[in-house]
């Protein structure tokens, strides 16, 4: 993929929650962009701020207790953070669709499926009721729901998990948004359904040129789907680049750790999976240096004291790690190489 027009750009976004125990800094200075027609993956372990980041794009996080601490979210040239609630409603569902993690709980149990899809058009006077229904039925057919006339009148509990997620996708797609945000859309589905849903997303991108943000903690999904990847840890972006760069030129110890903790086909029977030792940082009081330092096998003194600079490794590839500093010992992360300490 060559340089394309930026559809969405997050610049230094900070988002926190006020709780009884103090302020949780969930998203700390996150910047990345999404281009037209691309699929951007966001990986990271639970609690690293992935979901809060993407929900903050549509301002879906409850405010209060949540609040923006700074930054800009530029969508098609306008800063979403400056829009009024009313203007924001025109973006939600129409310009940017959202697919949630758990289809079991993300549909209203007391409302018919068809009505839930059609609701996206509420308040739009340009389309008639009949057209709206036609659109809903079409989109249902397109996302692979069979027997749409009957499904249209059914309630969510009458559908299987996979069907429910298809309905969620239909809701996200029905008004043909420019961007779809998928927050772990297949985590709660079984593998066969997962493969179908992923194929469906790819197909939709082909058809409409929709951009997709794909949140997952499954590197397999990333490899299958994404053009570029953002790796998040402790509320920050630690590494981003094209899929090839992330997989073959891994440049952050955390990304390396993620790679080492999944099974590969070329592993021998004796090889064991290496988990990342330790726990993620406490976001009530995040460390002043690199968030990953405490768990990093390459950590140096500087890592605990100062947040790492962004090192630009190629046109797309950026990693925030002190190892890329010219004074740092040279470490080959790709071979899982040891620290030079002679």
């Amino acid at each position: 993929m060559d340089k394309q027009e930026k559809l969405l750009e997050l610049k230094n976004v900070v988002f926190s929650f006020r709780t009884y125990a103090g302020v949780v800094q969930s998203v700390r200075d996150v910047s990345f962009d999404v281009r037209k027609g691309e699929i951007l993956g966001i990986v990271g372990e639970s609690g690293c701020g992935k979901s809060v980041t993407v929900q903050s794009i549509l301002r879906l996080n409850p405010e209060p207790p949540g609040f923006f601490g700074g930054g800009e979210i530029i969508y098609k040239g306008q800063n979403l953070l400056e829009l009024s609630e009313k203007e924001m409603r025109k973006i939600r569902g129409k310009e940017i669709g959202f697919i949630f993690q758990d289809p079991m709980t993300s549909l209203n149990p007391t409302m018919r499926v068809g009505a839930q899809i059609e609701e996206v058009f509420l308040g739009e006077t340009s389309v008639s009721k009949k057209e709206v229904k036609e659109k809903a039925l079409n989109i249902m057919r397109m996302v692979g729901i069979s027997d749409v006339e009957r499904r249209y009148r059914q309630y969510p509990h009458e559908l299987s998990g996979g069907m429910k997620q298809r309905v969620m996708i239909a809701i996200a797609l029905v008004s043909q948004p420019s961007l779809i945000i998928c927050d772990e859309p297949t985590t709660s589905l079984d593998v066969t359904i997962e493969a179908q849903i992923l194929d469906l997303l790819l197909e939709l991108r082909e058809k409409f040129g929709t951009s997709i943000i794909m949140i997952t903690h499954d590197l397999g999904v990333i490899a299958k789907l994404c053009d570029r990847v953002v790796v998040m840890y402790g509320g920050k972006v630690v590494e981003q680049g094209t899929v090839e760069e992330i997989f073959y030129e891994t440049s952050h110890p955390y990304t390396k750790g993620l790679m080492n903790s999944i099974a590969r086909l070329d592993m021998s029977r004796e090889d064991t999976l290496t988990p990342i030792e330790g726990t993620p940082p406490d976001l009530f009081a995040p460390p002043k240096g690199c968030p990953f330092a405490a768990r990093c096998e390459y950590a140096m003194d500087v890592c605990y004291e100062y947040p790492p600079e962004r090192s630009v490794l190629s046109e797309e590839h950026v990693a925030s790690c002190w190892l890329h500093h010219e004074f740092a010992p040279k470490v080959d992360l790709r071979t899982g190489g040891r620290k030079h300490d002679e």
Binding site: Q55, L58, L60, M88, R89, K90, I91, R92, G93, K94, G97, F98, F100, D102, T105, S106, L107, N108, P109, T110, M111, E119, V120, L122, Y155, H157, M168, I171
Partner: protein, 301 residues
Amino acid sequence: MKRVVAAILTLFALVTIVFFLVRLMPGEPFTSAKLTAEVAANMEKYYGFDKPLYVQYFQYIGNLLHGNFGYSMFYTNKTVNYIIGQGFPFSADLGIRALVLAISMGIVLGIIAARNRGNKIDVFCVIIAILGTSIPDFIMGAILQYFFGIKWGLLPVAKYKGFAYTILPACALAFYTLASVSRIMRASMLEVVQQDYIKTAKAKGLSSLRITCKHQIRNAIMPVITMLGPTVASVLTGTFVIESIFAIPGMGKYYVESVTQNDYSMILGMTVFYGAFLVICNLIVDILYGLVDPRVRVGGK
């Protein structure tokens, strides 16, 4: 159908247990000082107390199946049916007014409170709820009588002879139910707001009013319906305190009186009547569940 059979069995068990329980109460129906032993014996014979208990029981059940609650032992020449027929219309009339007021206002208050969580409006609604659940109805009734009836002279203090007369007792009676409905509705609304599908609705670009009306209320109203079964039954069949404060000739008075007078047939009649009412209300609640939530449709697919 299964529910109807269960309901009938419940009623049968209720009759049986109460029938034998009342006999365990200390004292007897005919204890007036003026009664001579001979007259008392005659009375007992007249009511069939000379027969063995099980015979009396089967006789009672037989009568009950014909819809006959028997004669009162205190109001000696009136049947229980007649007394219920006299009192129930008043109790039910007052009860319906109170319920309509309590349920509609309670739900609205609960919704308003939940939508304004944490600010002054919410605090105001919560205070009403606390007052309503903590002030006993006889004090509430007396306060209303004092201000609206005596001090400002706006409404009649007692009796039950037209719309103006119904306002104060209905308010007094409604207050407690109103408060509990609003409390439950508020809590339930706040729980529903946390649900994932509310976020889905928000991500569709819906306004918060639309989300409340179309997504929250229907899902939040279940606990209110649950509490309505017993509440409706007890409010409609008369409340002793409110009826006596406002001098309303409802059923409440007879129910309490029957116990103090050891009026066996009256206690039984009232209990069965109330029990039947409760069972019916709960059946209606079950049906309502299905209407509100498609996941719990009663019977069939």
